[in-house]
């Protein structure tokens, strides 16, 4: 299969859906002429014109809410939020409007709204440009949350989001944009929500890894294999809905779990996953559920500090060793 980057996969998904359905359009700050500050929509203005690839003023609440309004009358907007850190500038339109519109209207509202949001620390971008806000909206019923780790998943999950009729927060990790991988060319290739991916099979320890922690977990698994510790790596791919079954199945096999994400440890996505396992899979557990995540401090600017705060391959390795030694 041909290999393309995560960023190209996302552009391909958007472009294909825009060709297929005139209701789909892209809107956000600097997505058109600039091609997105991450370059994800580079070239799309030329193909689709400035009505369907729209630069906006710097007004997150209006942009998100306008996406919602357009969705309610039949469009399928893709809204780009340049940094996930800015989500709270338009938070109400997500939490109280988009997420609840269908339920409050007695199931009548359709909300085919995709919010493409970057997450993660790109390196010395400091506390307001480095956050991984995947869990900020997990407590809010009505919204779905995806966090792909590979180009193929990025493409397939994004298409599912755009074709669906529910609001989706679609988190793209900034440091994955340049990563390449095989991506099907089939224009109808999609990846369903709620299906975790067992990225690597293993016997001794399960690592449930979110987004950029998937490649890190794989690197850790390689190192650990050399020590005789066999690691199973699972990527949930969507956090809401969560594929409990696959996770529990793995824990039943390994009895040991690590949950890894770049978000801060406290109340990150791992809190929910760990709590779910402590509720539904506790009988299989043979030791603590260890969460590997950023320390609970704002992301620092200085690389020395930032590296210390962010979770890494070594943290997963250390956690796995600890579990395996019990």
């Amino acid at each position: 299969m041909r290999e393309i980057s995560y960023s190209e996969a996302i552009r391909e998904a958007m472009s294909e859906e825009m060709r297929r359905d005139t209701a789909v359009f892209l809107v956000g700050e600097d997505v058109a002429v600039f091609g997105g500050v991450w370059g994800v929509s580079d070239g799309m203005l030329a193909e689709f014109g400035d009505e369907r690839v729209r630069d906006t003023p710097i007004s997150e609440a209006a942009i998100i809410g306008a996406g919602l309004g357009a969705a309610l009358v039949g469009m399928r907007p893709i809204v780009e939020i340049m940094f996930g850190d800015f989500l709270m500038c338009g938070g109400d339109q997500i939490v109280n409007q988009a997420a609840k519109a269908r339920f409050m209207s007695g199931g009548k509202a359709n909300v085919p709204l995709t919010l493409r949001v970057t997450s993660g620390a790109p390196g010395s971008a400091a506390a307001q440009h480095s956050q991984s806000p995947e869990s900020w909206f997990m407590n809010v019923p009505g919204i779905k949350i995806a966090a792909p780790s590979t180009p193929a998943d990025a493409k397939g999950l994004l298409k599912t989001a755009v074709r669906g009729a529910d609001p989706v927060l679609f988190f793209e990790h900034k440091m994955l944009y340049g990563e390449t991988g095989p991506v099907p060319e089939d224009a109808d290739f999609t990846v369903p929500f709620g299906q975790a991916n067992v990225v690597r099979q293993g016997r001794d320890v399960t690592v449930i890894a979110v987004s950029i922690m998937v490649p890190k977990a794989l690197a850790a698994a390689d190192l650990l294999a050399a020590e005789g510790i066999s690691v199973e790596v699972i990527d949930p791919r969507t956090l809401v809905p969560l594929d409990k079954e696959t996770l529990i199945h793995s824990v039943a096999k390994t009895s040991r779990v690590i949950i890894a994400h770049e978000a801060h440890r406290r109340s990150g996505p791992g809190a929910e996953i760990a709590a779910m396992l402590a509720e539904e899979a506790v009988e299989y557990l043979d030791g603590p559920i260890i969460r590997v995540g950023a320390k609970n401090v704002p992301l620092p600017y200085s690389p020395v500090l930032e590296n210390f705060v962010l979770p890494g391959v070594d943290d997963i390795v250390a956690a796995a060793r600890l579990l395996a030694s019990k």
Partner: protein
Amino acid sequence: MDITHYSHDLLAHLFQRMTLVREFELRAIEERRRGLIPGFIHSCVGQEATAVAACAALAQQDVITSTHRGHGHLLGKGGDPKFMMAELAGRSSGYCLGRGGSLHIADFDLGILGANGIVGGGFPIATGAALAFQMRREQRVALAFFGDGAINEGTFHESANLAGLWKLPVIFFCENNLYGEGTPQHKQAPIADLARRADSYGFPGVSVDGNDPIAVYEATQAARRRALAGDGPTLIEAKTYRFRGHYEGDPQVYREPGEMAAWRQRDPVPAFRARLLESGLFDEAQLVEMETAVQTELDVAVAFAAAAPLPVVDEALQGIYAETHEGLVF
């Protein structure tokens, strides 16, 4: 304005709907007192002209976003009092199957994109709907109702800017009833004529007498024409007054003495009734007939609501997502 220029149908519609709104509110208040309605009510008694006449200037295919004080808007846009009353009563036959209540009534077929419990929550939504209409080259406009309090939310500014920039077919319709909850308008903004704010976004703003349905109708129609011509938004500020508390039960400690009495002199429903009679276009018997019909319609609505089934508990777990998955709601 000389009302004899207007069609009999339009005038009858305005009177009928204004009466319906007034009486709906009084019934709802009564039924809340009697226990049929469990939730809060923010009644729009006194603001019937704004709600009804603004909607009368819209076409069926146009859409509105409404507010916490939305019953008038909904009835104005064609909402059925039966389904509204049933919703207020929390019944399965209500507009939202009992899930939304007064604050969240929506009917997408009627172009009602939803009441809203968040002050300022509707601005971006109306703006987005208008964007869709513009992109699809449809002859439709979106109208956002909001209050004098709501205009101070950031969403007003962001939405008005976007709409002005893109010349979207949207009408920002401010019902300035002089209060946001217990805080008077002059303690919420340093200017009295909120229509002035349109200038910041390069589109016109007009202030009208919100208790005069004809003035409201004219202003809204002009705004709609402008929007459809591709000239962009209009901000309409309609000066009006609410005759009851912010919500039913509000002690209203904040009113200026004499203010209420003065506004009562300008009660939009009897004032318009008198004008219809004066004009000679309607006689007393015709108006009474319409009023009676409204009462009958409301009798039916209340009976419908009272007889409507309560939801069964499983319904709480439905209609949250279009595509559902195991474990999503538990």
